[in-house]
């Protein structure tokens, strides 16, 4: 067992026990969001961290997942679980297309393509009034039951998000210890050298982006069902994409626990800011951008390998002094 697994057991174990002890809805809401944004940071990390395909358009897949379930539910009365699967199918398809682009566009050009992709979806969702109700967004009706994902209590949501988080974590661990993971790391480190060793880099990049997209889509579906409203300007926003990336970068790019550590920091900060400044006016809420920026600079300056990496390095350095 690795140290990161120990950290994960502590983290996820605490989350599993929390609803038994904590009754405060505000705190449980924060926990749900930490697990959700953490899983979405994982989704970003699979493409950006493990495969080296940096995207700032992952809100596209989040939005596809959110819309798929919301539209199917409100228009045809289909269960959000089916919506989740449809969203995954759509996002995987879109991910394959975008991943294919990554073989044509490298580095910053790929990043721009991902941003453009999410903005195209934003335009479609906000203008196609007849189908998506345009910029008004879609309220998700509350219907009690597991099949319809309607709960009067926060506890089931904690466990649903926890299941997503654990699954996301395991995907990353697989990418660290499996043959596939080593090949992917080679592609990230030096694509030409990887190809010279027989690594099918083109195919691997496409697959990584597709898996990443599918995971982001699941997060989008669950978020929409939890919050109960889909707003195109939120779900397809660059802000959201940046948040996924930021949580993973602050936590530690290409580490399994990092995205969750980043999510704890960012989600807590945001919840606090919203509670503190929320009432004053929309203009002032922009302060979180300043704080994100500052945070990013501090992390890059002092722990460039991210919270998970920095923590690990510190533990390793201390290791020899502890008695065996």
């Amino acid at each position: 067992m690795r140290r990161t697994d120990l950290g994960a057991i502590v983290l996820f174990g605490a989350a599993a026990l929390a609803p038994l002890v904590v009754r405060n809805a505000f705190l449980l809401d924060a926990l749900i969001l930490i697990l959700l944004w953490g899983s979405l940071a994982v989704a970003w990390n699979v493409a950006g961290g493990y495969a080296g395909q940096v995207s700032l358009g992952h809100s596209a897949f989040f939005g596809l997942g959110a819309y798929a379930a919301a539209l199917l539910g409100t228009r045809w009365d289909v269960s959000p679980w089916i919506g989740l699967i449809v969203g995954v199918a759509l996002s995987t398809g879109a991910g394959l297309a975008l991943g294919y682009l990554s073989n044509r566009l490298r580095g910053p050009y790929f990043v721009l393509a991902t941003i453009a992709f999410s903005q195209v979806l934003l335009i479609v969702a906000s203008r196609w009034r007849a189908f998506t109700q345009g910029s008004e967004g879609i309220p998700v009706p509350f219907r009690p039951g597991v099949w319809t994902l309607g709960f009067s209590d926060k506890t089931p949501w904690v466990y649903i998000m926890l299941a997503l988080a654990v699954f996301a974590y395991l995907v990353q661990r697989y990418l660290e210890v499996s043959r596939l993971g080593y090949l992917l790391a080679a592609v990230r480190e030096d694509e030409d050298a990887a190809q010279a060793l027989g690594v099918p880099s083109r195919w691997l990049k496409v697959a990584a982006v597709a898996v990443s997209a599918a995971l982001a889509s699941v997060g989008g579906t669950l978020w929409a069902q939890y919050v109960g409203f889909v707003d195109p300007f939120y779900v397809f926003s660059v802000d959201l994409s940046v948040r996924f990336a930021l949580a993973a970068i602050i936590g530690g790019v290409g580490t399994a626990l990092g995205p969750f550590l980043g999510s704890i920091l960012i989600t807590t900060l945001e919840t606090y800011l919203r509670a503190t400044f929320g009432g004053i006016g929309a203009g002032f809420i922009g302060i979180y951008l300043i704080i994100y920026g500052t945070l990013l600079i501090l992390v890059v300056r002092f722990v460039p390998e991210g919270l998970a990496g920095g923590l690990a390095a510190r533990l390793v350095r201390r290791a020899p002094s502890t008695p065996a």
Partner: protein
Amino acid sequence: MAAALLSVGGVTKRFGGVVANLDVSFDVAPGELIGLIGPNGAGKSTLFEIITGFCQPDAGEVRLEGRRLAGLSPDRVSRLGVGRTFQKLRPFPGLTVVENVMVGALQKCHEVRRARQEAIEVLARVGLEDKADAHARTLSTGQRKRLELARALAARPRLLLLDEVTGGVDQRSIPGLVSLVRDLHRNGLTLIVIEHNMRVITAVCQRILALHLGQIIAEGPPAVVTRDPRVVEAYLGQVYGGSRR
């Protein structure tokens, strides 16, 4: 004569107005160790790029055991058994030395634990086993060179293209690398080596190809090729006062 393992026929490659390779043809028999020499810009590395699929020729073709390699991606060519090292070294900087080599080993071996074992064995052959857990970016140039060789070997190629094995390596390490190349050859590996160190190339190669301005100007045993007036001229320039073409 046995059927050629590698057959290069009429390969031509232009970059804009620059001719990198012009009608280059040669065969490599299984088990041969061939040296590729020529002054800077002669087109040696381009030829490697073409054979390994990193670059497509404008004309001509490359065959591996009769199979055309045209249009195949570099990773396909590698999986068919053609390994290579890069002139400008390209280790995976964020991975450890053993992980670097494991990527090569994982081409044929699908089990991570066994790949690690194989990687350690290959590292021992190139004398890097004590560096196994170091990060690749911490290695010296000579060590990186050996790492690159180990990585290519771990993929168990049938044909290995080495781009400047001894270039940038300190003098003391050269004999070790030379004897390693000889060992590989003795164990049946077919090799093409680009090399500037004439002493090395005459010591290990049976046959030398000399490239100049993209064309093969001489071919044969080391003793003959290195004395060929065209080769001498290519390296040293024309004899002062001689007539210009």
